[in-house]
């Protein structure tokens, strides 16, 4: 056994503990979501999602072992190769794939199916981390920014071809990494404004009001601020970008987006819109969570999830079971656990000596955060319904393994941080 395999002393046991707690809670919770009082089944029953999830968890431990055994340089060295392979697989998916729940993102291996798009997340994270960690990389360089954008956009586009809108949108999470590594905040600000404007486009019927408002703000900013040519140019270009956003968003919503996504967006801005139809999921999800009260109805005592009022209650809407059976206290604990994990990952990322490891650490934090925020936000009606899993809680092998790999590659890199020469 090689010396660097025995890293137990250097492994970040706090993260491992959080991981184990989350996965265990998640597993028990899946049982609660599918539990049928009359069926006399145990949590181990392989015909239940909980039994199968246990197999996935066991497989995760094998994966973790493999990650730890492999040489730490393996991940950085072969990052682009992995990236190439996953792009190839993603191209194949629409040809070989089978359709599950409206998405054509699965390929079958025997009786099991896997979602390559799930694995594209950590592969892309490695690739952008490698690129950002390369010698002489400067975030300010336009060419570099363009390449990074391409690295994200290509897998995103391929996943969109599988009609898996949810997974594709996760790739925008990497903007946090770029921001940490020196991307101009201007892009973030315009991004957030664009998102706000997009939502306003849905609410405000006549977009000429929005154009007028932007123009008014622009004039005010130019008039009251320093009247330097550069500042005026920046403000004007920002305003033009926002106006283009309005028009293109309007176009996308009305002409490009599948009807179901368009309706979900409309449902978000109008919670009373069609509660029995398009808003059924969110309405029922909120009823399930809201009926949990302060301390919850108790383990296996939830009625809304068990009796199938909440759709997809063991995958995308798994948080409903937590909210219903464990109430606000349970929700608090789960959210605190995620917060702890996210902050711990950032802490780990910051103590890396290589830029590659740090960028990768931020990618892990960003992806976890994005899944956490979108998923829970959707179940309580703060985000549109976008089908992405809650890490470690949603039932499913591909997503569990993908999150496990993401986290443990970081822990592996972290365990060897002392061996890395600082390259900044």
């Amino acid at each position: 056994m090689r010396k660097d395999v025995d890293i137990s002393g250097k492994l970040d046991w706090a993260s491992v503990l959080l991981y184990v707690v989350l996965v265990t809670f998640g597993w028990i919770n899946i049982f609660a979501a599918v539990y049928d009082e009359t069926a006399n089944q145990t949590i181990w029953d392989l015909s239940l999602n909980s039994g199968r999830q246990l197999i996935f968890i066991a497989a995760s431990f094998v994966i973790i072992l493999a990650i730890i055994i492999l040489d730490m340089r393996f991940y950085e060295t072969f990052a682009y190769l992995f990236y190439g392979i996953i792009l190839f697989v993603l191209v194949l998916v629409p040809i070989l794939g089978k359709e599950v729940g409206g998405n054509k993102s699965w390929i079958g291996i025997g009786s099991f199916g896997v979602q390559p798009s799930e694995f594209a997340k950590f592969v892309t994270a490695l690739a952008i981390a490698k690129f950002m960690g390369s010698v002489g990389f400067k975030m300010e360089n336009n060419r570099n920014q363009f390449i990074l954008l391409g690295l994200i956009a290509i897998p995103m586009a391929l996943i969109l071809l599988q009609k898996d809108f949810g997974t594709a949108i996760v790739f925008t999470a990497f903007i946090f990494v770029f921001f940490r590594e020196g991307m101009s905040p201007f892009i973030m600000i315009v991004g957030v404004s664009a998102a706000t404007i997009a939502i306003l486009t849905l609410i405000v019927e006549n977009q000429w009001y929005l154009h007028g408002a932007i123009a008014a703000v622009l004039v005010a900013l130019i008039f009251f601020g320093k009247r330097k040519l550069k500042r005026i140019m920046v403000l004007c270009s920002g305003a033009v970008i926002l106006m283009i956003t309005i028009e293109s968003f309007d176009y996308i919503v009305n002409n490009v987006l599948p009807i179901r996504h368009k309706k979900r967006l409309e449902a978000l801005v109008d919670p009373d819109f069609d509660p029995m139809g398009i808003n059924w999921n969110v309405t029922q999800s909120k009823i399930a969570i809201g009926s949990g009260g302060f301390a919850g109805k108790g383990f296996l005592k939830g009625t809304q999830t068990k009796f199938d009022f909440v759709p997809e209650q063991s995958t995308d809407f798994i948080f409903c079971t937590i909210g219903e059976e464990h109430g606000w206290l349970g929700s608090l604990i789960v959210i605190m656990l995620f917060m702890a994990l996210l902050l711990r990952v950032i802490f780990i990322a910051e103590r890396q000596k290589s830029k590659f490891s740090r960028a990768y650490g931020y990618a892990v934090a960003s992806i976890f955060f994005f899944h956490f925020a979108i998923n829970i936000g959707m179940t309580i009606g703060l985000f549109p319904v976008i089908g992405i899993p809650l890490p470690f809680f949603s039932y499913g092998g591909s997503s569990l393994w993908s999150f496990t790999i993401l986290l443990f590659i970081l822990l592996k890199l972290d365990a060897h941080r002392g061996q890395v020469l600082q390259r900044i």
Binding site: E37, T38, F176, F179, R180, E181, G182, M276, G277, W280, Q284, K286, I287, A288, I289, G290, S291, G292, G293, F294, T303, Q304, K306, F307, D308, F309, G323, E324, G327, W328, S331, L332, I335, M336, F338, M339, L342, L343, I346, E350, Y362, A365, F369, A373, I376, G377, I380, L382
Partner: protein, 604 residues
């Protein structure tokens, strides 16, 4: 470089976490709405519909009962591989209708693709048997059972009434909150009048259910459950055989037959012609059939025994006679010359006593009698004198049940009319009217109006020699075995019962000696009757009217028969009345020629 940015990112993460916790606190702890909605989701309030009470005839023959019917429900989310062509052929509907049904269903406010929604209602037993085998080829479609009314015979439709889904307006008007949307409720007839007794009490069971409405056990082990209580059974005084016989005799005619048991006021039969088959107003075709029946120019929904108002005609002379005796303006022996200069008359008679005058229906006699009653000379002014006389006269006439609702146990009864001084004041727009203006009252051709049930009741009063029980259909309710209290009370007229023997004698004489009344005469039974011919505007024939009771002593049946546009009372009405009496007392007629005469329907 960019060290500070890690803090910005951490702040963003924490802020999002806090926003979630605050939002969760709002919906989980502060807002009770979701807990209620959750209960509404899973707690199935399963209503156990009670059996509606059954309706029997006087011989305990079942007239109205419940039979199962089925609603076809659909959960849209569970519908898979829907073969619309097969569906249309199995359920025998057109493609357009199928499309229309889906559209109508989705337009409903409470519609949800996740919940069972009624797709087709009131499939009959036969329909259900037909589609049952095919049901499994239509996943998502389910069948829900309930009961509907069925009728053993096509008779008695208007008296029984019908049951249908409660209307939106009635539901809003129901302050007791007993009814829910989709409930069936009596809409007319006995079903309406005895709704409270018939409907029973709903039971409720609280069950847990999943999103497809599939039960998942009792809520709190049935702590809040109640059992349904079936409605009370009703026993009517109707003789359903007699009723059917009456309807057969009335076939093709307009009019009514009302037969009453005088000793109790129980209605033996209540025929309204033309009628309809009550089975048409149950089940799936209720709406289309109802529409057709209600636009029928013969008005089968018009309940003639209670609602048709006629002038009383000659029969009214009996009431005149009784009143005159009571007011002591004549005695039974009083003879009055048949002076046809005053008012025309018919038949060969000249100077009859009271019995003879009734039997011969002498118009001048009763003209004179009414004058004696209205102008007693209490005051010198002829106008004032008539006024005083009329007031007195009204009191006596009304005590026979004329001019007001009798209070039968059916809706929509009409009052008829007994003109009062106030009525003539309005009609003449002054008090300047006197006997010579209103003398038509004397022969029942004035302003007064009666309904057939009042005439049958009048026959019962004479049969009883001066009293009546309010005519009623239901003689026993539920286990109580008693009618409603108002039907157990004996009502006396203001006429001394000793005077009635005159009316009885006269009516016997009408049947036995009168000119055309031989058709009412029976070999073994003494029938007492009186014809009436209600003048109709030419070229229409007069209405044929006959009242009777039999036997003369200890009468078992009192009857009134109206046949519209059929000429003299001695023909159509007298024949029908006597056939009914025969049928009721003897079980069948011994005079087939009279029966054929009635069935042929040519009375001219």
């Amino acid at each position: 470089m960019n060290e500070g940015r890690k803090d910005i990112l951490q702040v963003i993460f924490i802020v999002v976490g806090l926003i979630f916790l605050i939002k969760l606190f709002f919906i989980q702890v502060l807002d009770n709405k979701y807990a209620e909605l959750a209960d509404g989701n899973v707690i199935l309030r399963q209503v156990e519909y009670p059996f509606r009470g059954l309706i029997y005839d006087r011989n305990q023959k079942l007239i109205v009962f419940n039979s199962p019917e089925f609603d076809l429900e659909v959960v849209i989310k569970d519908v898979k591989n829907f073969d619309s062509a097969k569906f249309c052929s199995v359920f025998e509907i057109s493609r357009e209708e199928l499309r229309a049904r889906f559209k109508a269903m989705k337009a409903r406010k409470e519609y949800s693709p996740f919940k069972p929604t009624i797709f087709m209602n009131q499939l009959s037993n036969v329909d259900f048997a037909k589609v049952q085998d095919h049901l499994e080829s239509f996943p998502g479609f389910y069948v829900q059972a309930r009961t509907t009314r069925s009728y053993a015979t096509p008779a008695l439709a208007n008296a029984l009434g019908y049951v249908s889904e409660i209307s939106k307006t009635n539901l809003d008007r129901d302050l007791t909150k007993i009814y829910k949307q989709g409930d069936y409720v009596g809409q007319s007839g006995i079903e309406y009048f005895y709704e409270e007794q018939l409907r029973g009490k709903r039971g409720v069971r609280f069950k847990l259910r999943n999103v497809k409405g599939i039960e998942k056990g009792a809520f709190k082990n049935g702590l809040y459950d109640t059992l349904s209580v079936p409605g009370q059974n009703l026993t009517t005084g109707i003789d359903i055989d007699l009723q059917q016989y009456g309807e057969m005799l009335m076939k093709g005619k307009s009019g009514s037959i009302v037969a009453i048991e005088p000793a109790t006021g129980e209605i033996l039969s209540l025929v309204s012609g033309p009628s309809y088959d009550p089975n048409l107003l149950t089940g799936r075709n209720y709406s289309s059939n109802f529409k057709q029946i209600s636009i029928d120019s013969m008005k089968p929904l018009f309940n003639r025994p209670l609602m048709a108002q006629y002038r009383p005609g000659s029969i009214f002379k009996i009431a005149q006679a009784m009143t005159a005796l009571q007011e002591k303006v004549i005695t039974p022996e009083t003879r009055i010359r048949c002076d046809r200069n005053i008012i025309n008359c018919h038949g060969a008679h000249s100077n009859e006593d009271l019995r003879g005058a009734i039997a011969n229906s002498c118009n001048p006699y009763f003209h004179n009698v009414l004058r004696r009653m209205l102008n007693k000379g209490v005051v010198n002014d002829p106008f004032g004198d008539t006024r005083i006389g009329l007031e007195e006269w009204d009191k006596h006439i009304m005590s026979f049940g004329f001019g007001r609702k009798l209070g039968i146990d059916l809706p929509n009864e009409k009052e008829g009319l007994v003109p009062t001084p106030a009525y003539y004041d309005r009609a003449y727009r002054s008090q300047a009217w006197k006997f010579s203006n209103i003398y038509s009252l004397a022969i029942g051709e004035g302003e007064n109006l009666v309904v057939p049930i009042q005439m049958a009741n009048f026959a019962a009063i004479i049969a009883n020699r001066g009293f009546y029980y309010t005519p009623h259909l239901v003689k026993a309710i539920g286990a109580d075995n008693k009618p409603l209290p108002q039907y157990q009370e004996r009502h006396y007229t203001l006429i001394d019962s000793s005077y009635f023997i005159v009316a009885v004698d006269a009516m016997q004489k009408v049947v036995e000696e009168g000119t055309g009344q031989y058709r009412a005469k029976l070999a073994d039974i003494i029938v007492c009757g009186k014809t009436g011919t209600v003048q109709n505007a030419p070229p229409l024939f007069d209405h044929s009217v006959f009242i009777a009771f039999a036997p003369r002593d200890n009468p078992k049946i009192a009857i009134s028969v109206y046949v519209e546009d059929a000429g003299q009372g001695a023909r159509a009405a007298a024949s029908i009345a006597s056939l009914m009496i025969e049928k009721y007392l003897l079980g069948a007629t011994k005079r087939p020629h009279i029966e054929s005469y009635v069935l042929a329907g040519k009375f001219e």
